[in-house]
């Protein structure tokens, strides 16, 4: 770590940016205050129509909820279907490194060759 009293360059930069941004926002708020107050006088605008009311108080929340739900579901949509242990398996079988003839040829084999019989292996369940 650096010696105390000598902040690293990016820390100093961050401090400068924060100070400038805070000052700028404060100035804007002070300047906008009286201007915004002018519009508050006078009669209120016209009533909202039924459609506008519906859009603001029902449409906007529903749209926001839909967007959030979509963002939640998006990662699993991108990742594709997922195997869930215990659920039934409806997908077609897949054989990587499939020999010529495939499963049909394999099922037709009645007597196993010595290369298979003399071999070994293991099994596990989950």
């Amino acid at each position: 770590m650096n010696a105390p009293g000598r902040p690293r360059p990016f820390v100093r930069l961050a401090a400068a940016v924060t100070t400038a941004a805070t000052g700028g926002i404060a100035t804007l708020l002070l300047a906008a205050g009286p201007v915004a107050a002018v519009g508050e006088r006078g009669t209120p605008g016209g009533k909202l129509s039924a459609a506008e009311t519906f859009a603001i108080f029902v449409g906007a929340p529903v749209a926001a909820a839909a967007i959030i739900a979509f963002l939640v579901v998006l990662p699993s949509m991108v990742r594709g279907p997922r195997y869930r242990p215990g659920r039934s398996w409806a997908s077609a079988s897949r054989w990587f490194g499939e020999p010529a003839g495939g499963e049909v040829a394999a099922e037709a084999i009645t007597s196993l060759p010595p290369a298979t019989v003399e071999g070994g292996g293991a099994s596990a369940r989950w």
């Binding site: 279907p81 242990p85 020999p99 196993l112 003399e118 369940r125």
Partner: protein, 131 residues
């Protein structure tokens, strides 16, 4: 699991790459079957292994039955000398653990890597039992 493909294109690519890496590392032939089996998976796995024909001797077949939750590893006669039953058992246990967590692709690629590592060691040609 919806009907159709069990693996996305990317997942299938990962499995194929893992098979290719294991084959390059060991010189054995690796084959992975994922699907339902009617009846006992073990005899079916041996049938699939026999279907490797002239590759069966050096072949390692991995059968994964997602519904019966079984994984079977069948090694050929020559392949067994490189990948003994103990190493195959360790790999199948590791795969089963991943599958129990719902990760088919990760389990397959990890299992293949484990088997490749075990088979890549120089085979023990002679061993003293008394040591």
């Amino acid at each position: 699991m919806p009907a159709g493909e069990a693996f996305t294109a990317h997942q299938a690519l990962q499995v194929r790459q893992a098979i290719a890496a294991a084959e390059a590392e060991t010189g054995l032939t690796f084959s992975v079957y994922v699907g339902r089996v009617h009846g006992d998976p073990r005899p079916y796995a041996m049938q699939l292994h026999a279907a490797l024909a002239d590759q069966a001797d050096r072949g390692v077949l991995v059968l994964i039955e997602p519904e019966a939750r079984r994984v079977e590893v069948v090694t050929g006669e020559t392949a067994r000398r490189r990948l003994d039953d103990r190493a195959a058992g360790l790999a199948s246990l590791s795969m089963a653990t991943s599958f129990a967590g719902g990760d088919l692709t990760g389990g397959i690629t990890n299992g293949l890597r484990m088997m490749a590592q075990a088979a890549a060691r120089p085979p023990v040609l002679h061993q003293h039992d008394s040591d």
